[in-house]
């Protein structure tokens, strides 16, 4: 009963999110995100139907669709990255290289571990692969959040809500996943109930922040001096060198 209520609540929120996205004209701005939500709604509805009418196929369906869900989640990650850094072309270019290197390195490590461990069934292999991809995604998200914080990237209300909800979901989901994969924890009822609850909270955050279209931060005014990194860096260095000289003069005994 409780699980049904959580499922129903999630499905209603997803439908509301899609409807509001369409009404507010946000579907085209965050198309990968809304495609992800639509996909989750579809798989959850199918999963519920299978769970009720054909329980033996439910797990296979779940893990098979989970891989596509993770891939769609990566697309959301890319969308957040592109939207957040669209006024910061230099940072975006460098960050893209960094994220690509981390992605390839993490994926290679995960793939070697995956093949080294072997797998007993296709469903298990899909589950393992989904988990590994989620860990890599979490690592990329962490790097992105660090970059956004470091360069004080300005967010509009819509994008901020999208990013916060996504971070909450990915951050807690990887912890739940790793705990579920611990020997003896696979059947933990508490952990299995926690994930839908967190997703429900995430959907609430998304609904609240994406209810209507909010203005995005203004792009910086075109100015050569603002955009010339060499000059800016020179000015900062000069300021700090000046500071050093002053501190030295003041404090030297």
């Amino acid at each position: 009963m409780e699980a049904n209520l959580i499922w129903l609540g999630g499905a209603v929120l997803e439908a509301v999110l899609l409807f509001r996205g369409w009404k507010a004209g946000l579907l085209s701005r965050y198309k990968f995100f809304y495609a992800y939500v639509a996909w989750v709604l579809l798989t959850q509805s199918l999963g519920f139907w299978f769970y009720k009418h054909n329980p033996s196929s439910y797990l296979t369906l779940y893990w098979d669709t989970q891989l596509v869900t993770v891939a769609a989640s990566y697309a959301v990650c890319v969308e957040i990255f592109k939207s957040a850094l669209r006024h910061s072309p230099g940072v975006a270019r460098d960050a893209q290289k960094l994220l690509l290197v981390v992605f390839v390195a993490a994926l290679s490590y995960a793939a070697s571990d995956f093949f080294h461990r072997g797998f007993s069934s296709v469903a298990r292999a899909a589950a393992d692969l989904g988990a590994y991809l989620s860990y890599v995604e979490a690592l990329l998200l962490l790097l992105m959040l660090w970059l956004f914080g470091r360069y004080r990237i300005s967010f509009g209300r819509n994008l901020l809500g999208l990013t916060l909800g996504y971070s909450l979901w990915v951050g807690i989901d990887v912890v739940i996943l790793v705990l579920l994969f611990l020997p003896g924890n696979g059947a933990s009822v508490g952990l299995r109930r926690l994930a839908p609850l967190v997703f429900l909270i995430t959907l609430m955050i998304w609904c609240a922040s994406l209810w209507s279209s909010q203005p995005e931060p203004l792009p910086p005014a075109e100015s050569a001096i603002d955009r010339d990194y060499a000059l800016l860096a020179a000015k900062t260095r000069a300021a700090l060198a000046h500071l050093s000289a002053r501190v030295g003069r003041t404090l030297r005994p």
Partner: protein, 189 residues
């Protein structure tokens, strides 16, 4: 087990960083785009911390302490030490605040630029972190021992700060003046 710890740490850091993003957004929700004028003002503010160089130098002057030790009573000495300690800590905090503000504007402006240098940014970050650690260390020593006993440690910090800033001087020398000159002209695409 190490895998479990690293994933839990990863999840926790994601939540912390997203919380930081929310805090940054709430602080800057009405802020306008940063311009080079804001940056220049921040530099001037940093300079103003050192305007009264002689007065600041006096906070750490051993001669004053020696004079008070010889001429003043116990109460006067305690009051003198308390005041000097308060002034010294205030001065360090003010400097930290101005440097943090300058770095904040630098990073924001760097995010607008077309060609930031990751190496230069990385070095700047390391040096800034060193500065924060050293200046916080100075604050702790000032609070524990007062400005006069802490002066040796301060001298060490000064050397660290000089090293930190020498990086900037070196980089400054390497910058092509022609490129600097062209920055004042409208950028042609």
């Amino acid at each position: 087990m190490s895998g479990l710890v690293s994933i839990v740490l990863l999840g926790t850091l994601i939540l912390i960083f997203s919380g930081r993003l929310l805090v940054q957004w709430s602080r800057r929700s009405h802020a306008q785009v940063v311009t080079i004028e804001d940056y220049s003002q921040a530099r001037e503010a940093l300079d103003s911390v050192f305007v009264e160089t002689a007065a600041i130098k006096r906070i750490f002057a051993n001669e004053d302490m020696e004079f008070i030790s010889q001429a003043g009573t116990g109460d006067v000495q305690r009051f003198f030490l308390k005041e000097r300690k308060r002034l010294a800590i205030q001065w360090v905090r003010m400097t930290q605040k101005q440097v943090a503000h300058l770095m904040d504007l630098h990073l924001k402006l760097a995010s607008y630029t077309y060609e930031p240098s990751p190496r230069s940014e990385g070095r700047l970050t390391v040096n800034h972190v060193c500065f924060i650690l050293a200046s916080n260390g100075v604050s702790v020593f000032l609070w524990l021992f007062g400005p006069f006993k802490a002066v040796r440690i301060v001298a060490y910090t000064v050397r660290a700060a000089e090293y930190f800033c020498s990086e900037f001087r070196l980089r400054l020398e390497k910058i092509d003046p022609v490129k600097l000159g062209s920055a004042r002209q409208p950028r042609s695409l």
